[in-house]
């Protein structure tokens, strides 16, 4: 019953400049901790609800990758757009969408962000400039480039942060989009979340060029590999990329080296990697523990950290409660929102 032996995969690390990323202020550390914890506890709860049958269909959890969206969000300003694929709950919470509305969408209730008609993979918030939530691998890359096109057309200095995974990075439309983004100098940050597995296929089995920061090289798009487990490194890279885009220099690629602890979706037994591999990343590189340890080292009291834990748990529990008691959409909703 032993799992097949896996080649030792290299662990994510910052290859940007060798040194440690710039320190966060205490406020930044606390905010990062709180936001990452919210995502983790939310996802754990979503996993539970899925197990209870309250959530159906596909459900892709973000656990392990929290530093990517939280760090990137810290580099953004009002009006910047965010778009991603189907592993999207973390992105939504990071943009400030309410846990309640997200969880109720997962359970298919009327109080969900899409009135229960979108589900896990299809949620949007105009107010928070979150453009989904897309179920077709790679489609969000062209769409996100279109968001950047709109910024360029309108002459504002907002950027589009377009997330996709190491699997989507092999789709053709990604490169069509790279070409036009650089050609037209569109303000888009392509954040490639390299969590090392496209469903069950490791990067080495699917990608001829495994350094994703180089995927824009033939279009002259600059790229950087970033330790996606260190929220400070993510924010620093995000700042740099955003400044590049806002200065009108065109797109920028950030390869976030990260890891998902859970399976691809809830139905994935994850036989393609060893338990030890997962445990090692969790133990050595967990993005939340990194921040917690730094805060403790900086003499923030356990008490203060527990207060954050409690606040986050309250939010998540309230969202789960709401999501299980909110009514299902009215039958008449079947026929609405097809045209406007």
């Amino acid at each position: 019953m032993a799992a097949p032996k896996k080649a030792a995969a290299s662990t994510p690390q910052d290859k940007t400049n060798g040194g440690s990323p710039p320190e966060f202020t205490r406020e930044q550390e606390l905010k990062a901790l709180r936001d990452m914890l919210l995502i983790r506890r939310f996802e754990e709860k979503a996993g539970q609800l899925y197990g209870m049958g309250a959530i159906g269909g596909f459900c892709h959890l973000y656990i392990g990758q929290e530093a990517v969206v939280v760090g990137m969000q810290m580099a953004l300003k009002l009006g910047d757009q965010v778009i991603t694929g189907y592993r999207d709950h973390g992105h939504m919470l990071a943009t400030g969408m309410e846990a309640k509305g997200v969880m109720a969408e997962l359970t298919g209730r009327r109080g969900g962000y899409s009135k229960g008609k979108g589900g896990s993979m299809h949620m949007f918030s105009k107010e928070k400039h979150f453009y989904g939530g897309h179920g077709i691998v790679g489609a969000q890359v062209s769409l996100g480039t279109g968001l950047a096109f709109a910024n360029h057309y309108r002459g504002n200095d907002n950027v589009s942060v377009t997330y996709f995974g190491d699997g989507a990075a092999n789709q053709g439309q990604v490169y069509e989009s790279f070409n036009m983004a650089e050609l037209w100098k569109l303000p888009v940050i392509y954040v490639i979340e390299n969590n090392r597995y496209a469903m069950g296929t490791s990067v080495s089995r699917a990608s001829a060029q495994q350094d994703f920061s180089k995927r824009g090289a033939s279009f002259n798009i600059p790229g950087k590999q970033v330790d996606g487990m260190d929220v400070r490194a993510v924010k620093a890279a995000g700042d740099e990329a955003a400044a590049w885009c806002r200065a009108g220099k065109g797109p920028y690629i950030l390869e976030m080296q990260t890891y998902r602890y859970r399976g691809h979706s809830m139905s994935d037994p994850a036989k393609y990697r060893t338990r030890e591999e997962v445990e090692k990343v969790r133990h050595d590189q967990d993005p939340i523990e990194q921040v917690r340890n730094r805060l403790l080292a900086a003499k923030v009291s356990e008490q203060d950290l527990k207060a954050i834990d409690a606040e986050v748990r309250d939010i998540v529990n309230a969202s789960a409660d709401f999501a299980q008691h909110d009514p299902e959409p009215d039958a008449a909703e079947l026929w609405t929102d097809i045209y406007r």
Partner: protein
């Protein structure tokens, strides 16, 4: 014997062109490969190269002549040793009857083609368009010009409207539909894309999600198969998936269906594909006025609209109302000819066969009511059903394939809504169930014909 230079066919659908300019004078020496003239087709200005050597003996068609039919002799070249006296010996033109169609020289050298003698709207249209107020002044325009004007008017009206696609700007449109838009609106709003349908369709949808109103031109809808995921999964479904929060106002337009002699990969009719999808509106007009009024409506529509054009029709002219703001509502069919014996339902170029057939049928005493559907989704079931209740018989005409086609859908709706009124089963005339062949005779067989429509109409009338 002097050599005749004939008006060349410079595109698959070209039937005539304007002789814009002679670059050689009578008496000048010509070498093979010399550019001797410039021809304006309805798509582009092309250079004519000499394939023979000698002296330009006589120019038969002066520059500035519009609508010179393909294969008309335009000049004669004298071989070495021949003189002007030999000109009379030139062979007769290959197609005399075509040459006779040539129009007299235009007064001024037209920048854009104005084919006065181009095929115009069939005489068989008998019913006035209820969307056009009585007494409205009409201008004669090609469908190509009507489309261009529709886009230009909407771009003047709304700064959020822009046009993107392959060759839409500097080239002036692969089929010249976007002619002049770059000059008026600049490169920011008339955007040449690389050849990347999937990518630029997605970029258009993304831009539309923020509230911009892109008009995305596909050089033909055949190439939109590369982009169909973005059209359906992103454009058509997002409004629903977002619970009404986020939709997109976007038009995907371009020629659809068979052009002429471009074979299977460039000749497919996508009417039924797109009309299958909730969230999309699908428009496929026939007349120049409808092309204009419906494209304006499509650009204003807050939903994604598939606007299916037809390359064969681009050069056709029709009367377009001279109104400041002529918009035809999406979703309304039009009865273009009234009759009491049989209802013929079609759209886009299918109307060509339908109207011809109606003329033929009238000679046999069968009065066909012809409905131009104009919009395929939402489909104007009411107009169809009311007509069938009157006639008791129906024939659908489409260039696309029959299986799961629009004709099948129309037949089902008639059955569902007017079964008791039917005196015969609904008949379908469609493209044959084969990929489009290249050979001219086979291509003709693959497409529907007026004769097939006549036959089907007679069959449902038990004649």
């Amino acid at each position: 014997m002097p050599i005749q230079v004939l008006m060349p066919a410079l595109s698959p659908t070209m039937e005539k062109g304007n002789l814009a300019k002679w670059l050689k004078k009578e008496g000048e020496t010509i070498k093979s490969g010399d550019v001797i003239a410039e021809i304006e087709t309805d798509k582009a200005t092309m250079e004519v190269e000499a394939t023979d050597e000698g002296t330009l003996g006589r120019i038969l068609i002066p520059e500035g002549t519009a609508d010179v039919a393909v294969n008309t002799p335009i000049a004669t070249i004298l071989a070495d040793g021949e003189t002007a006296a030999d000109l009379a010996k030139a062979p007769a033109p290959a197609k005399q009857e075509k040459a006779a169609e040539s129009a007299p020289p235009a007064a001024a050298k037209a920048e854009a083609p104005q084919p006065k003698a181009a095929p115009s709207a069939p005489q068989t249209v008998t019913e006035p368009d209820p969307e056009v107020p009585e007494g409205t002044e009409m201008v004669t325009q090609t469908i190509r010009e009507a489309l261009r004007d529709a886009m230009a008017e909407e771009m003047r009206r709304d700064a959020d409207v822009f046009v993107m696609g392959e060759e839409v700007a500097e080239y002036q449109g692969a089929y010249k539909v976007t002619q002049g838009l770059l000059q008026e609106f600049g490169a920011k709003r008339v955007i040449d894309t690389p050849i990347t349908e999937h990518g630029f369709a997605g970029i258009g949808v993304g831009a539309a999600m923020t509230g911009l109103k892109p008009v995305v031109e596909f050089m033909t809808f055949n190439f939109a198969m590369q982009a169909i995921d973005q059209i359906i999964n992103s454009a058509a479904k997002t409004l629903y998936m977002s619970g009404g929060q986020m939709g997109c106002s976007i038009v995907f337009r371009g020629p659809n269906g068979a052009a002429a002699r471009v074979a299977a990969q460039h000749s497919q009719d996508y009417s039924s594909w797109y009309s299958n999808v909730p969230g999309l509106k699908v428009v496929a007009p026939f007349s120049a006025a409808d092309y204009k009024g419906l494209l304006k409506a499509a650009i204003r529509d807050p939903n994604p609209v598939i606007f299916l054009e037809n390359e064969v029709l681009y050069g056709h002219t029709g009367a377009v109302p001279k109104l400041d703001d002529f918009v035809i509502p999406i979703g309304k069919a039009r009865i273009v000819r009234s009759g009491s014996h049989v209802t013929i339902i079609s759209w886009s170029n299918g109307m060509t066969y339908a109207l011809k057939a109606a003329d033929e049928l009238a000679k046999d005493g069968i009065e066909a009511e012809v409905i131009d559907l104009r919009t395929l989704r939402p489909m104007d079931t009411e107009t169809i059903v009311n007509s069938v209740k009157k006639t008791g018989r129906a024939v659908t005409v489409e260039e696309g394939w029959a299986q799961s086609g629009v004709g099948a859908e129309i037949a089902a709706r008639i059955m569902e809504n007017a079964f008791d009124y039917l005196d015969a089963p609904v008949a379908r005339v469609s493209g044959k169930d084969v990929p489009m062949p290249y050979a001219a005779n086979l291509e003709k067989l693959a497409l529907p014909s007026a004769a097939e429509v006549v036959e089907a109409a007679k069959a449902v009338c038990y004649r």
